[in-house]
């Protein structure tokens, strides 16, 4: 076998493997620029009819927290909602909400109907704070560590295995630090 005979085949194999790996990646998942960075500075008012808004200071209290971006108009949010309820009931970690581009009365009606897992909810009517969080599609879920740094981001609805095999183990690890 001469080099010139093997070379095209070798190149083909390398390119085919690279493209093959590329095909298995999910193009909708964009690496977050904010991992290991402090949460953005923000102060969101409460959703009308709910007591507590959400600010950056609420995420720097020394506790690990989950921050979930949701909206009443968002179908996939309903898919992951029971998982958030389950975590909230367990009391293991506070779950905060950012209500993205939603009408307060719709948000409140949604929470009354399906349950409210959130300790605090910030109302982001114009979506500007969510842009600071690098949000590009709801639902998105962040894990914030004790120092108010973003440790993890999940894009799209969480499935049971996302919550139980990734997010909660990470929360426990961060809590033990």
């Amino acid at each position: 076998m001469r080099l010139t005979h093997v070379l095209p085949l070798a190149l083909f194999v390398v390119v085919a493997i690279a493209l093959g790996i590329g095909l298995t990646l999910n193009p909708r998942v964009i690496p977050s620029a904010l991992i290991d960075k402090p949460v953005p500075e923000f102060a969101l008012p409460p959703v009308d009819g709910k007591p507590d808004g959400l600010t950056a200071a609420d995420l720097r209290t020394g506790d690990v927290a989950i921050v979930n971006i949701f909206a009443s108009w968002c179908g996939p949010c309903r898919v992951e909602h029971p998982l958030l309820m389950e975590v909230a009931r367990s009391g293991e970690v506070p779950v905060h909400g950012i209500n993205y581009k939603d009408l307060p009365r719709n948000a409140v009606a949604w929470l009354n109907r399906f349950g409210d897992p959130y300790t605090r909810i910030g109302s982001d009517r114009d979506g500007r704070v969510s842009i600071d969080w690098g949000v590009y599609g709801v639902p998105e879920t962040f894990v914030v560590d004790r120092n108010g740094r973003i440790a993890y981001k999940h894009v799209g609805p969480m499935m049971a295995e996302d919550m139980h095999q990734r997010i909660l183990p990470l929360v426990r690890e961060l809590q033990s630090k």
């Binding site: 190149l11 193009p27 909708r28 964009i30 620029a33 904010l34 500007r128 590009y136």
Partner: protein
């Protein structure tokens, strides 16, 4: 003749509708309020064209209908009118969404393969072509093989035949 005119007419109408529907201008500007200052607006539009829409991925935010793209267009206009430089505005968006949001990826360690692979492939192809061409040139044109005894006998017979005739 009337029928032909009718056809041309409906064709033109359809083309107009298509043009109006798909023109980038109507898509991008139809919904947003441009900046009053034409120079600032031009800078904002230039930045819009460099930012990738996060929802519809292969479009710039300039020609995307997505809600988030519109929010980002507004944000870029706002920061431009606050007096920020183009680079500051781009850095602001990249700080939130990462290099991914730039349609023209920057040259750094993570994009090294992306940027240099065309050059590497071109070089490899060139080397390959040169090697093949050299080899072909160095091989002298092979002389035709000698005739086999059979063929020589047939040739001789044919020639003798010719001579016999003349």
């Amino acid at each position: 003749m009337r029928e032909l005119l009718h056809r041309v007419g409906s064709c033109a109408a359809i083309m107009m509708i298509v043009c109006l529907t798909f023109s980038a201008e109507t898509l991008a500007i139809g919904v947003d309020k441009p900046l009053a200052d034409a120079a600032l607006e031009a800078r904002a539009r230039a930045i819009h064209k460099q930012l990738r829409c996060l929802v519809c991925q292969n479009q710039a935010i300039d020609d995307s209908n997505a809600d988030l793209a519109r929010d980002l267009r507004v944000l870029v206009r706002e920061r431009i009118s606050l007096g920020e430089s183009d680079q500051e505005v781009l850095d602001y968006v990249v700080g939130r969404y990462g290099d991914w949001v730039l349609l023209n990826p920057p040259f750094n360690i993570r994009t090294l393969a992306l940027w240099i692979s065309p050059v590497v492939l071109l070089l490899l192809g060139g080397v390959f072509a040169v090697v093949i061409l050299r080899r072909q040139r160095n091989q002298p044109e092979a002389a035709p093989a000698d005739l086999t005894p059979d063929e020589q006998a047939r040739l001789k017979a044919l020639l003798d035949d010719e001579r016999g005739k003349s």
